[in-house]
């Protein structure tokens, strides 16, 4: 019944063994164990199992509608589980609410806050973490610089291009230093030419920040940049309750 069926060592061959956890050892990083998410009686995700080790970028590849995004939302705590467990460093996250999980989530279309300018968008997570104004302004400016948008602090987010908006979204998600990045088709709303550029940029920024990531995509090229690729088959449709 396992939803995640195949694993290719797309990035580094043989690297997988090192990350597999032997019996008795606490697995480090994210572990998703037989997770099921239902909408009504329909199962959007059925019995999904995967893990993401420290510093690792894992691509989750599958056709549209197979439940990839739902799985990401479940990991971030936005969807209740109908079955299975989600663990971080061996600890069950069931009782940890969304805002205390310390994960970052980057939406397909950015989801920047329209009432805030670029800078305050990036600083939002730092503000929620209780970091003082001066400090968070400095940090957010640095992140903007890192995604190549220094000088955009006061820009209205409505005036950004698609690629710029996704860069801001990336900076915003990374600024509070999440222990895991969840990327939900971060490039799919962009032009093909832009996609390759930004894909490489995202990859190198993630590496620079040393943040493990689960990267959902339907594009095999995009997935190729990851350390490892997992395949999620087409939707399991209706499961018996």
């Amino acid at each position: 019944m396992s939803a995640v069926t195949r694993q290719d060592g797309a990035g580094q061959g043989g690297g997988d063994d090192a990350r597999l956890d032997g019996p008795g050892r606490l697995p480090r990083g994210l572990a998703v164990e037989a997770v099921t998410v239902r909408y009504g009686t329909a199962a959007a995700v059925a019995q999904a199992t995967l893990n993401v080790g420290p510093g690792e970028v894992v691509a989750l590849l599958g056709p549209s509608g197979c439940g990839k995004s739902t799985l990401l939302r479940a990991i971030s705590g936005l969807e209740p589980l109908a079955g299975g467990r989600i663990l971080w460093d061996g600890q069950d996250l069931a009782a940890v609410p969304v805002h205390k999980r310390g994960f970052g989530l980057m939406f397909q279309d950015g989801q920047l806050f329209p009432h805030l300018a670029v800078g305050p968008n990036v600083a939002y997570g730092l503000r929620m973490a209780g970091i003082g104004r001066a400090e968070r302004t400095a940090q957010a400016a640095e992140w903007l610089n890192l995604v190549g948008l220094s000088g955009y602090w006061d820009r209205d987010v409505a005036t950004l291009s698609g690629g710029q908006a996704q860069r801001v979204a990336l900076a915003r998600a990374l600024a509070p230093r999440p222990r895991l990045m969840l990327l939900d088709e971060p490039l799919s709303a962009l032009d093909t030419s832009l996609r390759a550029d930004l894909g490489a940029a995202v990859r190198s920024i993630l590496a620079a920040a040393d943040t493990p990531a689960l990267w959902v995509t339907h594009d095999p090229d995009e997935a190729a940049a990851a350390d490892r690729t997992l395949h999620l088959p087409a939707s399991p449709a209706h499961l018996p309750r």
Partner: protein, 600 residues
Amino acid sequence: MIEVAPSPSPARPPGVHRQGVQAETWQPWARRAGMALVAGLPVTFLAIFFVWPVATLILRGFAGTSGWDWSGFAEVLSKPRTWRLIGRTVGQAASATAICVAASVPIAALLYRRSFRGRGLLRALLTVPFALPSVVVGLAFRALLGAGGPLAFLGIEDGFWPVLMALVFFNVGLMARVVGLFWVGLDPRPEQAARVLGAGPWRALLTVTVPALAPALLAGGSLVFLFCATAFAPVLILGGATYATVETEIYLQTAQLLDLRAASVLSVIQMAVVALALWFSSAARRRREPVAKRSGAGSGLGGIGQERGNGGRPTALAPSPTFAVDWPSALVTALAVALIGAPLANLVYRSLLTGGGLSLDNYLALGDPGRAGLPYSLAQAAERSIVIALLAGAIALTLGMMVAVVLSRRPRAPWARRAQGLFDSVLMAPLGVSAVTVGFGFLITLNRAPLNLRTSFWLIPLAQALVALPLVVRTVLPALRSIDPRQRQAAAVLGGPPWRVFWDVEARTLRRPVAVAAAYAFAVSVGEFGATSFLARPDTTTLPVAIYKLLGRPGVDNFGVALAGAVLLAAITALVMALAESRWDRSPGLAKRTREGARA
């Protein structure tokens, strides 16, 4: 061989060509003539029955014996009483608006963002007050807070507090609905993004969702302010002998002190207050536009007749862990339900209460002729009210549909668009100008040649139609606008002649909104008090006016009969509203909602 160059049209079989053009649009001349008629009739109606009376009213305030004269203004504005009235009107409306706006977010959170058993019932209960006649509401609070009422010990029989309660009663459900319908159309993901970025449920609500709701809060709030600032019957019935606002003062000056000049000046002041609120509302609407385009959400009065899908996002209705503002919203909703339910339940109970315990005596007394100094019984007044409201509703619905059709078109020419904008604001003006002003204006203009309706039966239906017209437009227009023009085009390309396209595409979508608009038009007319109280003569006295007159007469049994009359009036309104809502809400309704969800 394929022709690359565009071929001149004679090369094609002429029959086919003509058919194609006809199927897509009307003949240009026919369309223009039709539009002129459809736009011209409401414009003429408004010019005669709105612009003329109101303009005359304004001039009456300025005109002296020779030319312009500001002394009327100077005199009225130099009285401290005038400023007290203005302060009280604005203060009272602002307080009620603040309460409604603050309560609307938690109530909408519970009733539009959560799914639970009994939600439909709660939503329906909260929308009841909007259709209730104001006389009924005034009486209900009087029966609750006044002498002999269960809450008489609070000692707030009249003055600020009961009026405030009545105003909140009227508007809190409307406000929650406006906010809720907007919220349902709102993308939930920015709030989720905030949660993932470390914001707790409350902080996410306050820092992301409330700013996103701002357009609905502003538009709804200014609408509520408008209704509160022009409230008439609640202030008249609950304010007591010394408590007055600008609106009741106009009535007092006209009907009792016979100082038409002072009344004119006060009407102009009232219009200025209202114009300010309307300007604010439209500014808020303009700001909202890009958001509305993206999410397809309706707000303002437009939300009234419509329930919208949630864009097919299952997360919006699923009990999601991102949203935890549960207990506070349940508490606020419970308070609102109590505020709405208690006076109504008490009203029914007290109407059944007579000297010797519970009985139907008060209801039987509705048939007594001669009460309230009328030549007929309250039951006959009810009959008269229904006939008048049917006429008024028919006029309002016919004209309102015409207006909605004109406003829903998207003309290409800039002059046409400007004309449309002007048309829009003129048409909405009756919404802003208080009913008392309308009644007063009728009184001083339509009483002589060329149009002497002073003794005509039609005076009241016309005034009521004017009051109901904006509501009809605001209910039908969003539905009409929601029809994707490509659906029309698809039907036309598939070979439907214009009438068939209208029947298959427009009429199908409009059935429910039109039924709801008709019910609202009837409900507003049957309960209309502000304008009718100016215009009603002994033989055209409607039920609300009769109830108010009865209230002014001493005697416990008169009060009891007035309560029974109020229950009857409320029952008539509720019955019509329930018919309109339920008739179209069976299984096709569900299908429609699903379809709407899929489209958004």
